[in-house]
């Protein structure tokens, strides 16, 4: 506890505060909250500052418990030592992620998306955890984490749990986070060798996305394996393009596979018209981007 302000300095203190006052708002980078929610609340809600909690911040490699070590097909690392996970604390900013050596080298699509979110000023404040919990369908980092098969760590008064990020978004701005719970970290499994990301917006910088595509895969003897393709801004939640993934699985790495996967992607999304784009454009752009990324990756 901060002796002067009485504000929490640990996750446990923060959880206690959320239990005592369920209307407490847990603030992180505030880049959306200060715009969207602050003025809507004339009542000055009680707040806590997650940025002041040291254990929520920073990037570190952690060992995988042996029981949980899963190896992608085709990997031939020493089977006795499970590869480490990269743990990114929830309040780590995109500005920090963008330049982190382990992210840049191992997860280039995460570094890339971090450098394309908003402006430098936004990247210096906006946090990875905030992007997830805010759960906008246009959240840029979301499809990237789906493609990278991330897990999220959640703290509640009953303890900590880890769930696959695939299971985090339940509906429009609705997440698996229960009342009084905090997202504490994102965990990334060992980097897949093939990764690609593309964001389609109105301008090259500081644009809310019309369409995003992220993908990651392994390959063996000229064929795709463990393909994961995810899209954003085309549905109420970021989504896996499972039909397109299925086309790629075990298929040769060539232009025919890319074209067929693009057609599958076209058929499996139901985007909407809104202020930023039209359903027709989104579906067209998504399909083209899937094809192009498969050829580039």
């Amino acid at each position: 506890m901060n002796p002067a302000s009485g504000l929490p300095r640990t996750v446990d203190e923060a959880l206690l505060r959320l239990q005592e006052r369920p209307d407490t708002v847990a603030l992180a980078g505030c880049t959306d909250w200060m715009v969207r929610d602050r003025l809507a609340r004339a009542d000055a809600p009680p707040v806590i500052d997650l940025l002041a909690i040291e254990e929520l911040h920073g990037i570190e490699e952690i060992a995988t418990p042996p029981s949980e070590a899963k190896r992608p097909a085709g990997a031939d690392a020493d089977p006795t030592t499970p590869p480490p996970l990269l743990r990114i604390g929830a309040t780590t900013t995109f500005g920090e992620i963008r330049v982190d050596r382990r992210v840049v080298e191992g997860y280039p699509i995460l570094a890339e998306v971090a450098s394309q979110i908003g402006s430098r000023q936004i990247q210096n404040r906006a946090t990875l955890g905030g992007n997830l919990v805010n759960a906008s369908p246009a959240g840029d980092s979301l499809p990237v984490l789906l493609a990278l098969a991330a897990e999220v760590e959640i703290a509640s008064p009953d303890g900590r749990r880890r769930i696959p990020y695939d299971a985090f978004h339940l509906g429009y701005r609705e997440t698996a986070l229960g009342p009084g719970e905090l997202l504490t970290a994102v965990l990334l499994p060992p980097p897949p060798p093939h990764q690609a990301f593309r964001k389609v917006g109105t301008r090259a910088a500081v644009a809310i996305s019309k369409v995003m595509v992220a993908m990651a895969a392994h390959s063996r003897q000229g064929r795709w394996s463990s393909m994961r393709i995810a899209a954003g801004s085309v549905a109420p939640v970021p989504m896996r393009l499972r039909a397109a993934e299925k086309v790629c699985e075990g298929a040769p790495i060539d232009v025919e596979t890319a074209t067929e996967a693009a057609e599958a992607a076209w058929g499996e999304v139901e985007p909407i018209d809104d202020v930023r784009s039209t359903a027709r454009y989104r579906r067209w752009a998504l399909s083209r981007v899937v094809r192009r990324l498969l050829l580039e990756m």
Partner: protein
């Protein structure tokens, strides 16, 4: 709540609601009007200041998150010898027109030069992507920043850790 922070190198305190905007505190409590309110939504960059040495939008920073940190505004930059010389060169090269965006632009520029003493055209473009100039004076601004010889933030303004690095220790 009462918060204590370092403003332009000096320890200050301010009283307000935890969710009050840093922008309003700077302008109305400390009468530092360099940071402007343009859009109030984090899009235009006119309210850019440095928080712990990094550019942020003061319209999006709640007071609660300023406690114990360092804030630098354009007034603080101008009050140092290095900063004043930088602003003079910036003006002489036509980097400023109406002036509404200028405080934010020169702070984004100062942060860029801190990290990249000789920025490329691309690095300048990325650093300024969040600062909108209504006079469309971007080319002169680009040129002014590209020709800056060195870091322009005085070490007395920086948080202790960064200042130490500055001194080479």
């Amino acid at each position: 709540m009462k918060v204590h922070f370092i403003l332009n190198g000096k320890a200050v305190e301010a009283e307000g609601r935890p969710t009050d905007r840093l922008l309003d505190v700077l302008r109305h409590v400390f009468h530092l009007t360099g940071a402007k309110e343009g859009c109030g939504e984090g899009e235009c960059g006119a309210c850019t200041v440095l928080l712990d040495g990094r550019t942020v939008l003061s319209c999006l920073v709640p007071l609660i998150q300023v406690d114990g940190r360092s804030v630098i505004t354009v007034e603080g930059l101008a009050a140092t010898e290095k900063g004043h010389a930088y602003l003079e060169r910036f003006a002489l090269k036509g980097g400023t027109q109406c002036g509404a965006c200028t405080p934010g632009i020169v702070l984004s520029g100062a942060h860029l030069l801190q990290e990249h003493p000789h920025p490329s055209h691309r690095e300048v473009a990325h650093a300024l992507a969040g600062n909108i100039c209504r006079c469309t004076g971007y080319q002169a601004i680009q040129r002014a920043l590209s020709e800056e010889p060195e870091a322009v933030l005085d070490s007395t303004l920086l948080p202790a850790a960064d200042a130490e690095r500055e001194d080479g220790s």
